[in-house]
């Protein structure tokens, strides 16, 4: 028989075997479909940065029409659940006991100073423990204050006194829904884990069950084993990817402004990177337990923290910023957030895809170098 025909036969045999195993063994299906489903649901609903219903204590020491106008502005805001107090001690106690997240304090001379035009002070205390949330809360309070101030001045027939006013225009996500950027990022994080888990576990399984030794003494070449494993799990991984994208579009209602085919293409590229990473792990670890551990630690955590999915890479310390360059999810997060929210912006997609391509070559090349048909 000719070389080529024998090779095709071996490859077909491997692929058929892997596919049958995928169908029989629920664990790879679970990794490819159930894990993304559960994680996406969990993160999609559990992780939100939109501060809503901030419990705020409004301390009004002397109530009158002016204070009523001010507190009314809070009551009308979507972001606040105001609670009225008439002395600051009670409000401070509430803040200490976590019953409120912040205090807005109108002292008894508030109206008097307002009328005499003398910069009436409004005390604002927020619980600063969660710095991010307190910043957002502070921003909301400032927003309410500005709206109220402009309205009050108009009522009094005065010109707004502000010398400089900011006119923010937020592109791509005018409503500032955190889900719109979290969900595409999550897909990148989850797919990193899924891809790496799929291949690392299945090769380790062959070692553990002793099938690798029997496989190795057949005339099969090492790259045929690799390819035979890569293809079925690529299909499986892309299935999981499709499921995640569908959930993003229809369950979490994230807009997709870029083209679907570009999304599919870059996803395929990324899936190869993730699978390659798994294969690399499996050449090191020969038990499923160890392989699973490494896949978890080496992919999930970096993808979560260092990919820019939630924490801005540019704001990290220099050494950490350097490390993020070897986290493949970083590039995919950039592609996904751009494709979903901004559209087909070629410079972003091309640069990041090129980086992914290099990573793919790197991982598969390392696998090629590391994997040998030898036991020692």
């Amino acid at each position: 028989m000719k070389q080529g025909a024998a090779m095709r036969m071996r490859l077909r045999g491997m692929i058929r075997k892997e596919s049958l195993q995928v169908l029989r063994d629920p664990s790879s299906i679970a990794i490819a479909f159930v894990m993304p489903l559960v994680l996406l649901l969990l993160f999609g609903y559990g992780v939100s940065l939109d501060a809503r219903y901030v419990r705020i204590a409004l301390v009004v020491e002397q109530a009158d029409a002016n204070t009523a106008g001010f507190t009314g502005a809070f009551a009308h805001s979507d972001y606040f659940v105001p609670q009225l107090y008439n002395n600051i001690q009670q409000a401070e106690q509430a803040l200490m006991e976590h019953r409120v997240d912040g205090i807005v304090w109108l002292r008894n001379d508030f109206s008097a100073r307002l009328l005499t035009g003398g910069a009436a002070p409004i005390g604002v205390f927020v619980n600063g423990v969660d710095a991010n949330q307190s910043r957002i809360t502070k921003g909301y309070i400032q927003g309410v204050w500005q709206v109220w101030l402009a309205g009050y001045a108009r009522e009094q027939g005065q010109e707004p006194a502000e010398p400089v006013a900011l006119e923010p225009r937020v592109w791509f996500n005018a409503a500032l829904r955190s889900r719109d950027f979290l969900v595409p990022g999550l897909i990148a994080v989850i797919m990193t884990l899924t891809g790496a888990m799929l291949t690392s576990m299945v090769v380790a399984r062959e070692w553990e069950r002793g099938t690798m030794e029997a496989l190795m003494v057949t005339p099969i070449r090492i790259w045929e084993i690799t390819l035979g494993k890569l293809l079925p799990y690529f299909v499986l991984g892309m299935g999981g990817m499709l499921l995640s994208v569908a959930m993003a579009l229809w369950l979490f209602e994230v807009p997709l402004r870029g083209s679907f085919w570009l999304l599919a293409g870059s996803s395929a590229l990324f899936m190869l990177v993730a699978l390659g990473m798994g294969l690399l792990i499996s050449t090191v670890a020969r038990s499923q337990f160890v392989a699973g551990q490494i896949a978890l630690v080496a992919t999930f955590l970096p993808a979560f923290i260092l990919s820019g999915f939630i924490f801005q890479i540019g704001s990290m310390p220099e050494p950490v910023r350097v490390i993020t360059h070897i986290v493949p999810a970083r590039y995919f997060v950039a592609i996904l957030q751009t494709l979903f929210m901004a559209g087909d912006i070629w410079p972003v997609i091309a640069a990041n895809s090129a980086a992914l391509f290099v990573m793919m070559l790197l991982f598969l090349g390392l696998v090629r170098r590391k994997a040998r048909k030898r036991l020692d």
Binding site: A119, V124, A131, P163, M341, I345
Partner: protein, 372 residues
């Protein structure tokens, strides 16, 4: 009774030896937590520094230059470039070269001097909505400060009412002060759960479990012996990270150490209970690992570690009530930053106590049940 105690002690010592003597498991106990501590401590921060900003200033006046200098001079921002036409904006934002573009129109200075309001257009990349929100906050602070000084210098009336914002407990709003104390709880939970969840499965796999069962040890004794290493290692690791938080990351520690440790012991006991429940079900280490993972991921996400529980849907918020980490995080941050005393933390102690009691007794029941 004395014999039972001797047997339990023997098992506890053996368990500890088994975990600590293995080089691999020693490494697993030390390296990933350290790595996570540093990655979280340094990288997991919402604070923004060096945000690339492009300035499109059509105004030639000194006022606009002053405002721009204030913005660019702040540590939060970093000047990327000056633009000279409108068409350049889109490309810079699209490609993520800059996060914001500030546009000051031709009439900026003249409006300012004539007592009108001078607008500054801010174009923000909203792909990360949280960042977009925070950037606006930073800018607003700078502009408010600028406005105050401008009014004072040029005799314009001040705004009728002024906000005087004072964050409590964390006056500079440093994210790290929020994240690092949380890591104490996070890592203690992970290590305790994994150590206990795998302890029985490891013996089942190695075949040593039968050998253990044919000794006169009763199931309850085995269970108690097995809970020791998790408890001890969890406490040790928690204490180590506590020290790192105070001395390396320099997070202020304002409350009572005793109050913190009451919480930590209750917390780790509930983690041990959960770990043992997983242990009694898992036949292989892989199943144990999977079980631990299935518990840990939601437990961490739904704890308020990175994102607040208050932002979650109501049903999910109810679910968090059975999560021990949720309570311990409040205790940690309370003791670290708010200076909480154990009295004020009482509402967070007792739910963990209940969880510990329920999980430990359930584990005992499941263990005995499975033996027969």
């Amino acid at each position: 009774m004395k014999q039972a105690l001797r047997r339990i002690l023997a098992l506890a010592v053996k368990e500890l030896l088994a975990v600590l003597k293995d080089r691999k498991s020693r490494i697993i106990l030390v390296v990933p937590p350290l790595l996570q501590l540093f990655v979280f401590g340094y990288a997991a921060s919402f604070d923004l520094n060096d945000i690339p900003v492009a300035i499109y200033n059509e105004d030639r006046g000194a006022a606009s230059r002053e405002l721009v200098a204030r913005i660019v001079g702040s540590p939060h921002f970093h000047l990327h470039s000056h633009l000279d036409q409108d068409g350049q904006v889109a490309a810079l934002i699209d490609t993520r070269e800059v996060l914001i573009v500030l546009h000051l129109g031709e009439r900026f200075s003249s409006a300012l001097y004539s007592g009108d309001t001078a607008p500054v257009q801010v174009i923000i990349d909203g792909r990360n909505s949280n960042t977009a929100l925070l950037v606006q906050g930073y800018l607003r602070d700078i502009v408010t400060e600028f406005n105050l000084q401008w009014s004072r210098r040029n005799g314009r009336p001040p705004p009728l009412a002024m906000l005087q914002v004072r964050p409590w407990f964390n006056s500079n709003l440093v994210s790290r002060w929020f994240i690092v104390p949380g890591i104490v709880g996070l890592l203690a939970l992970v290590v305790t759960t994994i150590v206990t969840a795998l302890s029985v499965a490891r013996e089942r796999e190695a075949g040593t479990f039968d050998q253990l069962l044919v000794t006169p040890m009763r199931p309850v004794e085995i269970l108690i012996g097995k809970s020791f290493p998790g408890l001890l290692i969890g406490l040790l690791q928690g204490s180590f990270i506590l020290l790192m938080a105070v001395y390396w990351f320099e997070v202020p520690f304002r409350g009572s150490l005793g109050g913190l440790y009451i919480g930590m012991i209750l917390f780790i006991l509930s983690a041990v209970g959960i770990g043992l429940m997983i242990s009694s079900l898992a036949v292989t280490q892989q199943q144990g690992m999977l079980g631990a993972f299935l518990f840990l991921v939601p437990a961490v996400i739904l704890s308020g570690f990175a994102t607040p529980i208050a932002n979650m849907p109501e049903a999910v918020q109810w679910l968090t009530c059975i999560n021990p980490l949720r309570y311990f995080l409040v205790i940690l941050r309370g003791v670290f930053l708010e200076g909480s005393s154990s009295a004020i933390l009482l509402p967070y102690y007792w739910p963990m106590g209940v969880i510990a009691l329920v999980t430990l007794s359930l584990a005992g029941w499941m263990f005995r049940h499975r033996m027969n």
